[in-house]
């Protein structure tokens, strides 16, 4: 079995559908990890779901990045275990410096929830919705070598992200941060089922 842990912070609100999504894989064994746990079991993949951890007060993701659970997650990430951060999870990974760059307020200054088209580096197209207020990716020039672009928005870029970046891998390809929500693109009633492709791309790296 492939063991997956979904980390729950106070204010996470996409954890239920994320768990439902992951459970559609028969080979996944899905468990939840409470953010106060200071010793995290060794699993194959950790998922940081979307939401508003700690109400996104102060700055999106920063308070959650200081939760006890993040010490172990950081260690396991550097050991090469898979870590996936979706939306608020991406913001947490950036605040913890597990991924480089930062996520600023959308350039529209508004929350945006809609379908978007993404492209990977091989120009494959994915249709996955976004839902965020702080999703404008930005990084310094020197940080450009610290990550690999995973997905870009197809123009027009909804939130003003640098180079249209929607998701990034770290250089070892074991950590993925994503602003779009793959857990909102897998069921019959969703507009597409491309969420599976995103997970496949990540696991096959």
């Amino acid at each position: 079995m492939y063991k997956v842990g979904v980390v729950i912070f106070p204010g996470s609100n996409c954890e239920q559908e994320t768990i439902r999504f992951l459970k559609t894989y028969q080979e996944f064994e899905v468990s939840t990890i409470w953010h106060k746990e200071s010793s995290v079991p060794k699993l194959d993949m950790y998922v940081l779901p979307g939401g508003f951890s700690y109400g996104d007060y102060l700055r999106a993701g920063i308070l959650a990045s200081l939760s006890p659970v993040m010490n172990d997650i950081e260690k396991y990430a550097s050991d090469g275990r898979k870590v996936l951060g979706i939306c608020n999870g991406f913001q947490i990974l950036c605040e913890r410096k597990i991924l480089s760059g930062t996520l600023r307020k959308n350039n529209t200054q508004k929350f945006i929830c809609k379908e978007t088209d993404l492209y990977d580096n091989h120009m494959n197209r994915y249709s996955i919705p976004i839902a965020h207020g702080d999703g404008q990716f930005y990084c310094d020039e020197k940080d450009h070598f610290e990550f690999e672009v995973a997905y870009r928005y197809s123009p027009p870029i909804p939130n003003g992200s640098l180079h249209g970046i929607a998701g990034i891998y770290n250089n070892q390809f074991n950590v993925l941060g994503l602003m779009p929500h793959p857990e909102r693109a897998f069921e019959k009633h969703h507009k597409s089922q491309d969420g599976y492709k995103v997970i496949y791309n990540f696991l096959s790296r």
């Binding site: 609100n13 109400g55 996104d56 007060y57 909102r184």
Partner: protein, 530 residues
Amino acid sequence: MLTKDELIEIETRLNRKPNHTEKSVFDAMWSEHCSYKTSKSHLKRLYTNNRYVYSGPGENAGVISIGGTDRIAFKMESHNHPSYIEPFQGAATGVGGILRDIFTMGFRPIALTNNLFFGDPAFSDDSKRVINGVIKGLTHYGNCVGVPTVSSKIIFHNHYEKNPLVNAMAVGHTRERILGSVAKDSGKLLYVGAKTGRDGIGGAVMASDSFTDGVDLRPTVQVGDPYLEKLLIEACLELAKTGHVIAAQDMGAAGLTSSATEIGIKGGSATFQGKCGIELNLDKVPLRETGMEAWEILLSESQERMLFVLHDWGIEEAKAIFDKWDLDCVEIGHTTEDGNFTVYRDGNVCCNFPLSALEYPELERPWTPRFEKEEVQSEYRFSTENILSQYDSEVQGNTIKGIRDDVAIVRIPKKDARGKDKHIAIYTDSFPYQSYINPDQGAENCIVSIYDKLISIGAKPIALTNCLNFGNPENPEIMFEFKETIDAMARICEKLDFPIVSGNVSFYNETSGQNILPTPVFGAIGLMEE
């Protein structure tokens, strides 16, 4: 404010002059907002029961059964007055309030909708301020708390310019135990959530009065914290499963006063022989500010606070749950068997009277038909992608048809692998112009059109909630509009077997003598047929 007659009535009931704290309590509880004194006698005529109805009006929200152990709670509420004074916080706390009505009963909120009525922004900068603030407030609160907003309808008309309407509806689902709001057994009172501050004092009284231009009422508007609300949802639902809860109340209008007294007033089963009393010690209430007086603590409308009545043996487990979610919880009193409302502050008794004295006598306000009608234009509807995309309509992953569709459809996920998914349809509407021309016909047309709409997408219409927004009821012509609307609702709902299970009445939607159009808003739940 209490009238002279009401003061005399209080004195006869108590056999003495009420002190300042007691007077404040009566003032809040006898406001239109809390007592429904004008509408109570009319609302009795409504059709409220059929085989789908689990519990009708009277509880925090109406509950319907949709087969198996699946139950749906839903209710609509207005937050009109605060949304004009301070649009962002007014609208945000409106969402918070209606969500609390749902999860206080042990239901997980699964959908939000809103119906908004504004003046035309093209003609007034003030309307622009209100619209921007209201939409920011609604989206901020709903998105953060993680409940999808599946429908938003905006109607423009110049009569709403100085008195916008913000009506929000919340829908919840549960398969577990449902929590009641009255004490059926003796227990301890547990205060949970935010600390009490001076915000929102007198909110219920403010909402029961009409506006005058140029008076700053901002201190009467509460401030919302959606993050705390999210924690309350999770903690409350976890606590509901333990079975230790005797009653649960959210502290909404008139704060601690109304939640504590409501636990007692309708309480009184065999345990109390009809004499359930409440004893509160205000010294234990967590305060945000220093030097708050008893009446301020009792009437504060600080948001995200709840009151539980728990069995003695459940207190420890409850405290552990709230500790897990980093929520403050304090024991502030207990139920008694003397039927009195007793409040202590600094060791002194500052309130002591029988709870039954709070029951407000019904009011029969006079009504007359309106003969001369000023000509008004019809309302118009408008919404843009720019507004709709600000709502997170897909969180929780169960939105089949969302905010961009006419009728929203939300899935109820199956319980286990053997079960089957269920789908409910949610639709809201209002015809204010038709109601102005003919209140009876307007309400009837609206309900029939909602019924038809649900049928047309393949749903069986189950039940209705409503929010009745009217002008100043002391004006007999406005009272006539209200009475006619209720008559139509009673008649047509019975004919269609379409019961009304919950509702809200908002009077005094009048600013500087200008009344709004009579605006009954209806929200319906339908069950999608296989």
